[in-house]
Symmetry: C2
Subunit: 322 residues, 2 copies
Amino acid sequence: MADFQHHIQLIREEVNRELAGLPIPKNPRYLYDPIRFSLQGIGKRFRPILVHLTGQALSANQDGLTNIALAVELLHTFTLVHDDIMDNDDTRHGLPTLHEKWDESTAILAGDAIFVLAQLKVTLVENHATEIMNYFNKVTLEICEGQAWDKEFENDLTISEESYLKMIDCKTGALLGACAALPAIMEGLDDQTVQKLDQFGRLLGKGFQLQDDLLELISDAEKMGKSLGSDLAEGKQTYPVILARNQKENEWKELISPFLSHPNEQSMERIKTFLDETGITQQTIEKYESFFNEARDTLHIIPEDRRADLDLFIQLIEKRTY
Amino acid sequence: MADFQHHIQLIREEVNRELAGLPIPKNPRYLYDPIRFSLQGIGKRFRPILVHLTGQALSANQDGLTNIALAVELLHTFTLVHDDIMDNDDTRHGLPTLHEKWDESTAILAGDAIFVLAQLKVTLVENHATEIMNYFNKVTLEICEGQAWDKEFENDLTISEESYLKMIDCKTGALLGACAALPAIMEGLDDQTVQKLDQFGRLLGKGFQLQDDLLELISDAEKMGKSLGSDLAEGKQTYPVILARNQKENEWKELISPFLSHPNEQSMERIKTFLDETGITQQTIEKYESFFNEARDTLHIIPEDRRADLDLFIQLIEKRTY
């Protein structure tokens, strides 16, 4: 595990170096100041790491992986910048969001240009270029659809567990699927392998998201780098919220109403205790564990002696506390 | 000219048919309702028409042209949707803008997805695919830069004519340049031809924009499909405004102050009369005419017997009144 930690730290540093080395001119400052700010080396870089680890398992072309990894991280950054506007989030990774530090217009334009930078990285991939670009953009459309479902679901108290899981498959799963599938596409591997790797990434992504839903409620605000319960306050129907609503409708209503009208730490604490005592915390953990286990199984498409790092990567995500 | 009018009408109808035929699903309605609304057949479609006319002059591949034309129109639509948010515009082509009809979040997401649809069209171009995608995205970055300069220039009373022309070269010129250059890239023509065609489109674009600046001040509000003087009220430093500020500083200040504090038709009329009487209207017309003439000259890269339609296209734009 120590070797692995070192290995992914090297990848993370390379990704940060590449991001810092993007040709971001000084002017116009209206555009490039916020872009520089948003590319600072503070993300966990899970997505580009997944690209590199999958690519290494497949002995894929290194330059191609570097470009895909950057494109994927830039795409992710673009979606965060725009989602933060749409979701009224004012903090991310402990820093103000772009629209908070500047304004909405600035953040819209910066997000657009970051997405263009992602596209420019994709066009540098030489092998199976058209398939790569097509896959990349189809996934982006799926992410937009996921965000649209997420917005539709806000404050909708009839959303089922199934609809929710479909939404996060688009919003979070699709991009992790692409991280695992794109290296295989670049190497010209058969459709079945590509689909299995896509599946693996999506399962990992869904596990990751449910974990996030829970961490957002019970973790340490400082570690998460954002205010806890902000999804809750925004009326987001996350996985534990849907379970609470379905299993303990009346008690949940009594707990959530005072929080929604006046979000504060005390009622947040009551919500945490309730989720623990009713077993909803545990059910959420079991659900995401089942996704991680399924991801592990799906990974069997890669020979055992080549998938050790990907297995460790699943573990790394599984054990995270923020 | 009647034949030509018929010819471009056919192109316009084809573009509208292609736009209507895009695979836009019903759900999620949060995403696809506004996209459907924004793709209605009401734009002038100047950009895809330019793609087709240039491509026909070069005997370029028809399927390729169709995809480039669609991609360019979708890119244009995406920039309008986001620019309208940034510029607080509530009407376009006589219809409410997306963020006005829905809200800002909806419009941000719809714009993003329209841009993805543009990318998906680009990936369908088979010849010189990578160069096409690269050019397309570089141009998009330039458009973002143009919008950033435009925002920086708002309410900046020191902007020079030169800076302004550089800004519109990015914001409007670059895309018309791409409309003319992309068909040549697809056909694998030499760099010099590509650059000349890009230049031709940019000159046309700059002429078009200065014409727009003037029409926005003096045309018929109903025909323009938006409220006149809205750029002025937003503090935009357009070409006639810069001339007025530079040539008649004090008189301009006295005219513009009451309009800015209380935009109304009467002070708008006074501004129009002032621009006429000081010759600023005429100077603006001469400036855009010089761009159109230069565009005509640049077009000589195409043999005389093949460029008739493009010459007529310049005329068409030159003579527009809205």
